[in-house]
Symmetry: C2
Subunit: 469 residues, 2 copies
């Protein structure tokens, strides 16, 4: 971290803690320069950064002031209500109409599923690609296609080991992104008509996959901070022939919740007791803001019940489409399903990532990425507090790049979605995250793009629309 | 083509036509050098090449002689018998045990599904990869993921146009190889329990996909030269509620047959009459040995009924996993299924191929590849005629890299498969190509690898095993 970034962080902390109150003038550049023992230009850079993040603003000839946060920060949303016991899923049309809206590159991408590609070391990856293709023996192209690139598999197994999970290489199946890993994992343990426990709200692709495979959803409410409701899950596991669970243990999409280690233990105990396999969607694992990475439920799995799905799409290489599953006792079945559907992810994409993991600086890149995403979360939270109406609630995930907003009851987020899109702003309305199309007054907003005056204006505009309901 | 290659071809022609008979001495180097007006070293190179191809052999101090072809070339197999009306498919276990045997790189790869990777311009493709990644804007990575890389789509549409098919860009869906295209196409028009007309024998992955999706096979016999039996198909379309056909119109895998243009017209007429969609698997389209490319059935499709599936895996870029489908009226449904299963093929793999198609020399590469595959077919046919027992029949496809052998009735190809594997030779036994596990005395052999003394010895060994039945 650069010196001015550290300084900006210190001052942001003072603002968040209320030591510097909204409307208050912050120290002059000269004063700050003396206090902190840094050059005036460092102070200027720090102040520009804070201005970018929406925390302070300049007033002509008066210096910098803390921006009004519209009173206190926004409160946390309510835990989601318990749904019907089982639900037929029919959400695809709605999801596609939302996804279709994201194609326009001039839209403010609050509805996007991806962070800004500018946050990734694409040029360095391209060098890894060139290097790895120079050294790839032609025969390996055929060999890697069936089993996966062995260097990549070793690197992934190594990262598991560092994270405290001992993983036999045979458990790893390299896939076309995490979505294929999730699809194949689910197919390996279910048949049409089966029941699958999922979160409510859930990642919309999970709903689409259930729909496509004609599986029935058993929706388990998600607490905005603590994750899936284990009491409801316990009941459902006792009363229904659930064939699999599909949960995100950390930085759940869309609400951002994470299960504590204790609750992970409890959840795993339930699964083991009922011998129900878990598909653990852990694609945001590397995007934690805390000191240490969250431990996956896979780390507790001594029975091969957990299919742990990961990906490089959000942490390193968007568009390369390389993910994996550590498939437990289902690994061979998953590998065979893959051979029948896509055979293999692109071999050059695999070798490029393997080369980067060996010779690049993945951990340094990740530290920078986490820092950026956390700062952008700050900016969006502060901006929402300024512009969104009273009664709005919002999550504060400790990782990832989504915020989940609960607006006042009368807000219709599908209506809001249309209004906003007409003004060049996308967002992900609540109903696309629910088999029963609930969460009508909720929305997921993406803060994975650099915060700018456009973002700030878009938030202000959204605030006005919200008030119009 | 080099001068010595042309000379070798001329002499090979004389051998094939019987002008130079088995056992006959061919002209001395000095004599040939004078006759053809080339240098002695060119003649030597040509003779070495003919020796490699198994057409001539050197005898110490006597010069070169035409090898014995064991009498006449082998005759063509019989058309396959008509099967039961519908068949439940359960072939996966068998297929996986065969595929598993191919992992050993020291095996003579007659059972492989791929040609030698040495036949592809991998270094040139790597340069295209580097070039395209240098010029790719980060935002395009996200954009290309959903729709497909636009340059690649334009290049593919252009090749269709040159081949006489006018294709709106909206029909194209870029996929993870042809296998995903075939899978998604089939899913877009069927539900569990539906009937699908397939060839008998058929590409084994087709059988696996039917099995996975719980579809029933209606097996249509394939004539070894003319392709699928249209009379049987007509009957079945009239008597059964067939939901889709999945056929290879050119160089069918495994038998290598191609439908004539007249028969393509007739087939398309049937489909149109019954409004049954066709999944046209055309992955060997570019590997024709004749003067002109075969026209796909897609070229006749004025009703959007044909989903034409292609790939670069066999023509340009093995392991890159880039294929496509021109999906007719089902294109949007296929695109959505893709978004739900793998989202997108690797973007770098797409841009690399797009760059190669624009700046590389695809057509020159293809000419060389076709020439090589045809010569290797010659070598395998000649070798089979020398070593395989009387009563063996074999196809003579006008493209691709497979020969389909029909051995004498008493041969059990699953047994042969095991015997051969123990000697380090792989092959693809008949029953993996059939839902009803017929074709027990048949096998598919791959000639996509450079012909060598190892290949020749392997054929000789197979011949001995065949005689042991």
């Amino acid at each position: 971290m650069k010196r001015y970034e550290r300084l900006a962080d210190d001052i942001a902390g003072l603002i968040r803690n209320g030591i510097l109150a909204p409307g208050e003038k912050i120290p002059s550049v000269r004063h700050a320069s003396q206090t902190y023992g840094v050059s005036p230009s460092t102070v200027f850079q720090a102040y520009y950064l804070l201005e970018d993040r929406g925390l302070i603003q300049a007033r002509a000839r008066s210096g910098y002031f803390v921006r009004a946060l519209a009173g206190l920060p926004l409160p946390e949303p309510q835990p989601s209500p318990a749904a019907h016991e089982t639900t037929d899923v029919d959400v695809s049309e709605l999801v596609f109409s939302v996804l279709g809206s994201l194609k326009n590159p001039h839209t403010v991408p609050f509805g996007s599923a991806f962070p800004s590609p500018d946050l990734y070391p694409l040029a360095r990856l391209a060098r890894s690609m060139a290097h790895s293709l120079r050294t790839l023996a032609p025969h390996d192209i055929i060999a890697d296609m069936t089993a996966g690139n062995p260097d990549l598999m070793r690197q992934i197994a190594l990262r598991y080991m560092v994270g405290g999970v001992r993983l036999p290489m045979e458990e790893l199946v390299i896939t076309n992104g995490a979505l294929e890993a999730l699809n194949l994992s689910l197919q390996s343990v279910t048949q049409a008509g089966d029941l699958v426990a999922i979160e409510s709200p859930a990642f919309y692709a999970c709903l689409q996959v259930l729909e496509r495979l004609q599986l029935k959803a058993v929706e388990i409410p998600v607490h905005p901070r603590d994750g899936v409701d284990l009491n409801v899950l316990r009941d459902r596991l006792r009363s229904l022939p659930i064939k699999a669970c599909w949960f995100m243990s950390s930085f759940q999409n869309p609400v951002g919740s994470s299960l504590s280690e204790l609750r992970k233990l409890e959840l795993y105990g339930l699964l083991r007791e009922h011998q129900v396999p878990l598909i653990e969607d852990d694609v945001y694992a590397e995007l934690y803001f805390g000191e240490r990475p969250p431990r996956p439920i896979k780390s507790l799995d001594d029975d091969g019940l957990v299919m742990h799905c990961g990906s490089f799409s959000k942490s390193l290489a968007p568009g390369y489409r390389v993910g994996w599953v550590a498939g437990g006792r289902f690994a061979e079945r998953i590998a065979r399903l893959k051979l029948m559907t896509t055979i293999s992810p692109s071999v050059p994409a695999q070798t490029a990532i393997a080369d980067y993991l060996q010779h690049g600086s993945y951990d340094r890149h990740l530290r920078k990425l986490r820092y950026t995403l956390e700062r952008q979360q700050d900016a969006m939270l502060a901006s929402a507090a300024r512009h969104f109406p009273q009664g709005t609630r919002v999550t504060r995930p400790s990782g990832g790049y989504f915020l989940w907003f609960e607006f006042p009851e009368q807000v219709d987020s599908l209506q809001l979605f249309k209004l906003a899109l007409a003004q060049g702003i996308s967002l992900a309305p609540g109903p696309i995250f629910s088999a029963s199309q609930g969460f009508r007054h909720c929305a997921r907003l993406n803060h994975g793009h650099p915060w700018s005056t456009d973002s700030e204006q878009a938030m202000e505009l959204l605030g006005r629309m919200l008030r119009s309901f």
